[in-house]
């Protein structure tokens, strides 16, 4: 999905001064329905503490004893607050009312995207950039402080945790993943061991990667000189891919949407240009600094 805009509708169940509390069943049913539909709901009671008001649109629902309270002038002017009485409306009916107000206001419907994306544990990340090199979908990037960052969350492929498995420090989490430590559970020494085993490409090839490659080259030369069989090569490639997919827990759909060779080359070119620009900029900054004086050297 293109760009992720902040949610723009907050529902407030007002049960403070001047209102009659909602019926317990009505309140719970409304909460369940609204949360299932993706809304943020705040319950307000007298003397209670909640998250402060924001600049987005707020829909206040309550059973008001003396009719609807007046909307403050500023909010009325900006049209960012609406008050509705929900007396006699069921919990599900309340959720339907919210949906109607949202649609009438032209506010984006929540829940249009499944939030699956990597979250970095910066306490563990060493900025090695293995994940950035590994991910083919441009999810990762580097910020101005040269720190790894997740820049395109919506590019991430739902249910694919492969990049977290190539992280040697188990610093990449997918909070909705089934198992730890990828789901955010505590990282144990044994996890680090098993994670690194999974990503060690040399182990996938059976030990010493260079020896494997040399042997593979020799065998290939011999084989291709006697039998140049493209279908066999394709089969072998498929077998390798299957093994990699199993080890990294990559869903089938991800393999179906891999970018083309051209896309990858294009991305590599862009990354190279970005890096060159950054290097040039840092060189300019260095050039603009005055030459160190005797004092600077502490002499």
């Amino acid at each position: 999905m293109p760009g992720l805009a902040p949610a723009a509708l907050r529902v407030v169940l007002y049960e403070g001064e001047g209102s009659t509390p909602l019926d317990p069943g009505q309140r719970l049913a409304a909460l369940v329905a609204l949360l299932a539909a993706g809304y943020q709901v705040t319950r307000v009671v007298s003397g209670g503490m909640v998250t402060p008001q924001d600049s987005g649109f707020i829909l206040v629902l309550g059973q008001f004893q003396e009719g609807l309270p007046p909307v403050p002038a500023a909010e009325h002017r900006e049209g960012r607050l609406e008050v509705r009485d929900v007396a006699g409306i069921s919990g599900v009916g309340i959720a339907e009312m919210v949906e109607e107000v949202r649609a009438a206001r032209g506010v984006e419907a929540p829940g249009s995207w499944t939030p699956w994306f990597p979250v970095i544990d910066y306490g563990r990340c060493t900025n090695c950039m293995q994940c950035l090199s590994f991910c083919l979908f441009d999810v990762y990037g580097v910020n101005d402080a040269s720190e790894l960052t997740v820049q395109n969350q919506s590019n991430c492929k739902t249910s694919c945790p492969a990049c977290s498995r190539v992280c040697p420090e188990a610093a990449i989490m997918f909070p909705k993943y089934k198992k730890g430590p990828i789901n955010g559970d505590v990282v144990r020494p044994s996890d680090l061991q098993s994670e690194s085993m999974k990503v060690d490409i040399s182990s996938l090839l059976g030990g010493d990667i260079y020896a494997s490659l040399r042997n593979r080259q020799k065998t290939a030369r011999k084989r291709f000189s006697t039998e140049r069989d493209e279908s066999k090569a394709l089969l072998e490639r498929k077998r390798c891919l299957k093994k990699l997919q199993k080890n990294l827990d990559i869903p089938d759909e991800v393999l179906m949407t891999l970018p083309s060779v051209g896309d990858i080359q294009d991305r590599a070119r862009r990354a190279k240009e970005k890096h060159a620009k950054r290097m040039a900029r840092s060189q300019t900054v260095q050039d603009q600094q005055p030459a160190p004086s005797v004092d600077d050297w502490g002499i």
Binding site: L4, L28, V41, V44, W113, P115, V150, P175, N183
Partner: protein, 123 residues
Amino acid sequence: MMGRMSQAKETRVVYCNCTYAKVVPEDVKTEVLARLSQSGMAFDAVADLCEMSARKDPALKRISAAGEVRIIACYPRAVLGLFRAAEAPLAGDRVEILNMRVAAAADLVRQVLPAAPPLKEKT
């Protein structure tokens, strides 16, 4: 659970419903939300902290900036990472994160609503 705060009256409660995944046990989510709803306390309930983090929802900044908060969600490491990713880092000494993926509903309710009557044993 990370952090442990006093049961100060001004501690806010944020409940995450993890709406877009089925990784939090349904019975735990339902029981905790029902108890919160029954209680006379104010609270914020969000559909999904992950979605809010990806959207860099300004509400996360307000949650992290507004003093002591008790967040009922999932693994503390994940919750801290989600807030940091949204440029709303949580201060370790002002936040308590309760994990619905591993804790029993009765334990969570005891921590959030100490005055609540014990849950009935499920048979």
